[in-house]
Symmetry: C2
Subunit: 330 residues, 2 copies
C-alpha cells in the first residue's frame, strides 16, 4: 500500500480511503490512486486489515455428515451467499458429534477469529454443546424442528413429516408406521413428532417406531422387522435412503410396493424419481436454508435485530410409492 501511495504521490492513508471507498477524497487523487493500484496490481492484505479492524470477514461452518444430501446442499448455499457478501467461508468437519468434539470444532473457529459461526450439524449434541460453550461470536444453528429462535435457522421438518403421514392417511390407510432416523439427531425427533401429530390429529394411537441409521441397509433391516408385523400397510421412512432399502426389503419379503404396502420418504434425493417405484417424498430446499443461515449470520454480525426467520417449508412430492390402501382380502 505504501508503494501505491508513493507511486501516486499521496499518503498511504489516502490510498486506504480510496480502496475502502470511505469518501472524502478528491476525484483527482482518487484517479491517481486507482491508476497506481491497477499498475501495481495491488490487493489489500486481509491479515493486516483484520488486525487493524478486528474483523476477519470470514464465517466458520461446523459441519457433520457432509456426505448427506441435505448438509452438502446447505453448505453450497452458505458458501454462495457468503461469497456474494464478501465473506470467506471456513470449513470445519466434525469427527464425532459428542459435546467434546463440538466444543473443539467451535474452539478452532474461534481461534481463527471468524466473525460468525454456522453450526451445520443437526444433532442433539450440538444443541447441548452450544449451551455449554460460551461464545461471544454470532452463532446460528440449523434446526430441523419447529421452534423459531434468534440463533436458529429452522427447517420445519415437523411439518414435512406431518405432510407425509397425512398423505398416507388420506389414501385410506388405517395407520402409518415409521422408520425413524437414529437417536441423537434433531431431524429424527422432528420427524417423529410430525408423524405423531398427524396420527393424533385423527385420533390414531401411534404404533412403535423402528429405528434406522439413515442408510439404505438400515432401512432394509427395519422393513424386515415391519414385514412380520400384521396389518402394516403404510410406512413413512425418515429419509429416502431408508425408504429405498425398505422398498427393497418389502419386495424381498413378497410384499409389493405400492400394491401391498405404501412407502413415503423424506428429502427427495437425486434419483428418487427413478427408484422402482418412483418415491413419494418430502422436499426441502436445503440450498435456500444455507443461504438464509448465511444471511442471518451477516445480520447478527452487523448487530441487526435478530429477526427469527420464518421456517423453510416442505413440499410433498407425490409419485408412485404410495397408493390407496389395499382392499381387504375377501
Amino acid at each position: 500500500m505504501i508503494d501505491v501511495a508513493r507511486l501516486a504521490g499521496v499518503s498511504h492513508q489516502s490510498v486506504s480511503r480510496v480502496v475502502n471507498g470511505s469518501g472524502g477524497v478528491s476525484p483527482e487523487i482518487r484517479e491517481r490512486v486507482e491508476r497506481a493500484v491497477a499498475q501495481l496490481r495491488y490487493r489489500r492484505h486481509p491479515a493486516a486489515r483484520a488486525l487493524a479492524t478486528n474483523r476477519t470477514f470470514s464465517i466458520g461452518v461446523v459441519s457433520f455428515g457432509l456426505a448427506q444430501y441435505g448438509p452438502s446442499e446447505a453448505l453450497a448455499g452458505i458458501a454462495r451467499e457468503a461469497q456474494e457478501a464478501g465473506y470467506s467461508t471456513s470449513l470445519t468437519s466434525l469427527l464425532d458429534v459428542d459435546v467434546e468434539s463440538m466444543a473443539e470444532a467451535v474452539g478452532h473457529l474461534i481461534d481463527d477469529s471468524v466473525d460468525g459461526i454456522i453450526v451445520l450439524a443437526p444433532v442433539d449434541a450440538a444443541l447441548t454443546a452450544m449451551e455449554g460453550v460460551d461464545v461471544d461470536v454470532p452463532l446460528v444453528l440449523f434446526y430441523p424442528g419447529a421452534h423459531a429462535h434468534e440463533q436458529r435457522v429452522v427447517t420445519d421438518e415437523v411439518r414435512g413429516a406431518e405432510l407425509a403421514t397425512a398423505h398416507l392417511l388420506d389414501l385410506g390407510h388405517p395407520t402409518v408406521h415409521h422408520i425413524s432416523g437414529p437417536e441423537g439427531w434433531l431431524g429424527t425427533s422432528a420427524r417423529i413428532a410430525g408423524w405423531r401429530l398427524a396420527l393424533q390429529a385423527r385420533g390414531i394411537e401411534p404404533p412403535a417406531t423402528v429405528e434406522g441409521d439413515w442408510t439404505a441397509a438400515g432401512g432394509a433391516g427395519c422393513a424386515e422387522q415391519l414385514s412380520v408385523v400384521p396389518d402394516v400397510s403404510a410406512v413413512f421412512a425418515a429419509n429416502d435412503q431408508m425408504a429405498l432399502g425398505a422398498m427393497k426389503a418389502f419386495n424381498a419379503a413378497g410384499l409389493s410396493v405400492p400394491d401391498d404396502i405404501s412407502v413415503v420418504g423424506f428429502d427427495d434425493i437425486p434419483g428418487s424419481e427413478y427408484f422402482r417405484p418412483p418415491l413419494t417424498t418430502v422436499r426441502f430446499d436445503f440450498a435456500e436454508v444455507g443461504r438464509r443461515a448465511a444471511h442471518h449470520i451477516f445480520e447478527l454480525i452487523a448487530g441487526a435485530r435478530p429477526d427469527p426467520a420464518r421456517p423453510v417449508v416442505p413440499d410433498l412430492i407425490v409419485r408412485d410409492s404410495a397408493r390407496h390402501r389395499p382392499l381387504a382380502v375377501i
Copy 2:
C-alpha cells in the same frame, strides 16, 4: 500476549517462544508462561501471526458440483486432513465452470492470501483456466484421468472405466455401449477413454456414445435412445445416477435388467446396492482422494519435492445388474 508476559514476568518474546514451541526456553520460564497462558485463557491471534509471518495457515478450495457424491466426499477428506495439520479450509463455490468464474474464484482465494489452493472442479475449464491464471501459490487439481503431474491428485478413472467395460466383456457381451457424462468434464473423457481402451484391447470397434448429463433423468433419456438400437446387450454408464435412470428406462421399454441387458455404473453412491437390481459399479475412495490432495498441498507449501502421487485406484463392485450375455433367441 504482552499481558501474559507481564503476568509471567518475562518478555513477550519468551512467551512467543513457548507458544510456538521453538525451544531455547528454560523449563522454569516455560512453566511460568504456561500457567499465565492458562490463567488468562490466552489464544494467539491468527491475523497478527499471518501479518508477521506472511503465512495464513489456511488453504482454499475451489469447488463445483458439491451436491455430487464424489466432490462432497472429497471435500470432507480435505477438511479433515487440513484440520489435523492445523490448517483451516476456506471454501469457494463456483457458480459456473467457465474460465472466467474459475479465475475469479481463484482470485478470491488469493485475495484471502491462502497458503495453497485445491481445485475440486473436475472440468476442462478448470485446466485451461489454471494455465491462464498465473498463481504463485501452491495449487493442486483434482484430475480424474491417468496422467500424473506434480500439480495433480489423480484418480485413475480411466482404469475404472476399463474395469467396468472389461467386466461386461468378460461376461460374454460382444460389445459395450457407453452412456457418457456431459462434455466439458474431465471425468467424462477419462471414462470414455477407459471404455475405448477396454474395447480396443479386444479388437472391438467402440460404438457411438450417448451423452447424458450425470442425472438419472438424463440416463433414462440415453437409455431410450439405446433401446431402439439393435443388439445392445451391455451398457456402461458414466455414473450411478445415470445407470439408475437407464435401468428404469430399459424396463419401461420392456427390456429386463439384467436378463435382457446388463448395466454397470460408476461411483458406488450410497444406496446403489439397493437399486433394483443392485448395481454393479466402480468404487473410488473419494475421501482418500481429498486427504491426499490436502497432504500434497502441505508438502508443496513446505517446499518439499512434489512427488507425483500414485493415482487412487478403483474397485469393481460386482452386484446383480450385469450378467452373462443372453443366449441368442432361437
